[in-house]
Amino acid sequence: MRKRNVFLILAIAVVMVFSLAGCGKKATTGSTSGNATTTPVKGGTMSFYIGEPAYIDPYNCQETEGMQVVQALYDSLTTVDDLNPSKLLPAAASSWSPNADATVWTFKLNPKDKFSDGTNVTAKDFIYSWNRIANPNTKNTLTGKSDPSVISYHLGFIKGYDAVQTGKAKELSGLKAVDDYTLQVSLSQPFADFAYVVMHPSLGPTPQKAVEDGVTYNGKNVAFGDMPVGNGPFKMSEPWKHDQYIKTVRSDTYYGTAAYLDGVNFQIFKDPETAYTEFEAGNLDFTQIGAGKIKDAQSKYGTSKNGYTASPNEQVMLGAETSVYYLLMNNENKYLKNEKLRKAITLAINRQAICDIVFEGTRLPADGIVPPGIAGYEKGTWADSKYDIAAAKQALIDAGYPGGKGLPTLKLSFNSDGGHEKIMELVQADLKAIGIKTTFDSADFPTYLKQLDAKNYDLGRLGWVADYPIEYNFLYPIFNSKSGDNKAYYKNTSVDTAIAEAEKTTDDAARLTKLQAINKTIGSTNPVAPIMFYKHHHVASARINDFTFSAMYLANFSKVWITPGK
């Protein structure tokens, strides 16, 4: 009968339309055979996976996603070698020297250093940026409202810091521009590691005019926070497209060796699994490997020899990171301020199982808060950071909650966009095994960080990547009572004093011994539960060459190049 043919034909037509959808597309990934070029070639744009950043304005760049963008846009005074994090290298500062007792540091700036808009970078620009970070009334350029930086503690040892923080002064008295290209920093006490501190990408220079007036793009005014201007190898080519992408291109005013890449396209994904699917389809150059797929990726793409540098067929990077994954415990919470309860929680977690099940054995259970690779690492510094159910149950009894009786269900918070569900499921099961009940509470990373800032959590999680590769950077930011990154709200004034005392010691060995002792003291009350030391579980595409993703979780976009024709 005729009538059904109409519908049948229509249905077939629809199916055919969809089938034809793929035909028009050019093939973007060809085979990997052909001549292997080993000399770097200029050209190409690298697509790089990130989650939605909280900030890309360096004044408050506080998490890993925004950091990837910031370190492409900014060069700070010093930097470290990609493969050897203890080796300091000049960057925006061509040389530096401390005085005899390390209380005054003088940095000589490279006069060729320019912002991407062509203006010279001078000592005044560093002073302006650092004051912006230290000042608690600094306005967020996107909202126009006051939004103090949570990373100002990096400048904590500079003279005048306390005065600025309490509102008594507007500028740090310890900063001085001796001349345009000489920056003199006076510290309130000796601090032997200061040259390491200033390598932090957030401490780069920002141009005052662009910060205050914004930038012009296509005739419209854009806030600095959506299109920051810096002195790094790359610059923003258009404003931040929230939840979609951040596009950067090579900066032609960069004082150092120009990058080979034409640009870096930071693709923002809500879910790392989607990003990995995109990578497998050949549409992404760098991403995290999907859960449970590490061995599979190794067999498909090959493994990097040193764990940090990717080249064709050696694309999976599994190097140890100078970072630690830990369970946060709100030390001001009425239940968790009980030290024995925290001890029970940390002893209950089967760290090896998490490493084996979720990461296919490629991670290391944490026996303390400082990871191997940082000078001063010792095994077993936190005595309770191990799996011991009997001891956990005993500690729970000592805490006054035998078998978990008397404890309400605790909230276990984490960020939903980092792939932490599986880990949290195991933690939840471990805690249930000794009688502690928990429920999940997840939000995206920027929201989750705000929750932590508002102390609105019971148990949480965080990862800490070394900002600078020294033991101080694990103890001070996470545990000093005044630090904005102390999200466990651990308060111990004698530890605060001890850390400051240790940093006065200019003799490296003696300083390390003091810091190790402080580490043990903090660990004895278990303010957080270290779970594991991170390793990279990242992969680069076959057309990427000489790409190093360092142990400090920073990508080197200057040396990487793309195989031509791909």
Binding site: R2, L8, G22, K25, L142, D243, F269, K270, T277
Partner: protein
């Protein structure tokens, strides 16, 4: 006919006031919620901050004045400012809603074409292989979790097919690129979003058509000598379509509210994920602003559905039943 349409459009106005009033009351006076805390999100509210917020937003005025103010701002397009990012809510919606709208249109088109076609085919070829095929396919489709289907499609069309054909033939996996993606990006998320609804639509179409086909007046039409096609298009379809149109209209409304799961799997920058994140961040200005826009969209869809009834059913067109 025109009278009917005008009457429906005029009914729009009291509905609009009623809906926005409920929204306003719920937003500001929900039992157990604190309007001041809702304005600041996660931040801790000190007594000074509370006074400042109450002043800034006029929270101490009588509710009808606040409601009037809210309506006035609405007509100007001012939906407030997002607490977490500081951007204007209207800007955020203008940026994200077109993506949701386009995806919803694609999904509805799939639903209409495939759903209705499959329903008609299986009704006409009742109890044959085609009917069984459609029934089976719809049953499977209804039971599939949306995100699982999405992942499956991504793997098959995005990766497997690409590898098998050496890169010549494939579909993009996610909407992460570009301002408004070109049409290939809509295929997979569109199919995923439409899958369950298409199944329902096909089933409803099938059962309605079967019911209508058994009616006396159809037998009369056949006896009169009308051709199969004439009977189908002029009599059977028009009568069978009303419940289907109702369903599709409701479904379109639901899609316009954003589809969080589809948006996450396909990294689609639509309104669904924005609302979800705003709820997590306690950013109520964004939530209320988005819900207002969605309400508008749904009301317009309902209006269109009602108007389409007038075309399908003369009894509605001329008001009241005839006998």
């Amino acid at each position: 006919m025109l009278k009917y349409i005008i009457k429906r459009i005029l009914q729009f106005i009291p509905v609009f006031f009623g809906v926005t009033l409920i929204l306003f009351l719920v937003a500001n006076y929900m039992p157990g919620s604190d309007p001041v805390q809702m304005k600041v999100g996660e931040k801790h509210v000190t007594p000074e901050l509370r006074k400042q917020i109450e002043q800034d937003y006029g929270l101490n005025r009588p509710w009808y004045i606040q409601y009037g103010d809210y309506l006035a701002k609405l007509t100007k397009g001012d939906l407030g400012v997002s607490i977490s990012t500081g951007r204007k809510v209207s800007d955020i919606i203008l940026e994200k809603y077109p993506f949701t709208l386009n995806l919803a249109l694609v999904a509805i088109a799939i639903e209409i074409v495939i759903g209705i076609c499959a329903g008609v085919i299986s009704a006409l070829k009742q109890r044959t292989f085609l009917d069984v095929l459609v029934t089976l396919a719809t049953s499977i489709s209804v039971s599939l979790p949306v995100f699982w289907l999405g992942l499956l499609l991504q793997y098959f069309f995005g990766i497997f097919l690409k590898q098998q054909t050496g890169g010549a033939f494939y579909l993009p996996i996610s909407g992460a690129s570009g301002v408004l993606p070109s049409w290939e990006y809509y295929v997979l998320p569109g199919i995923t979003l439409a899958a369950v609804s298409t199944a329902y639509g096909a089933r409803i179409m099938r059962s309605q058509l079967i019911e209508v086909m058994g009616m006396d007046y159809i037998r009369t039409a056949k006896a009169k000598g009308l051709s199969g096609r004439q009977i189908l298009f002029h009599h059977e379809m028009k009568n069978a379509l009303i419940p289907v149109v109702t369903f599709i209209g409701l479904d379109f409304g639901a899609m316009l509210a954003g589809a969080v799961l589809t948006e996450t799997v396909f990294n689609w920058p639509g309104i669904g994920f924005t609302i979800y994140r705003a709820i997590m961040a306690r950013d109520f200005q964004v939530v209320i602003g988005c819900v207002t826009v969605i309400l508008f969209a749904v009301m317009i869809i309902n209006l269109l559905v009602d108007i389409s009834y007038a075309f399908l059913d003369p009894r509605i067109r001329f008001g009241g039943s005839e006998e």
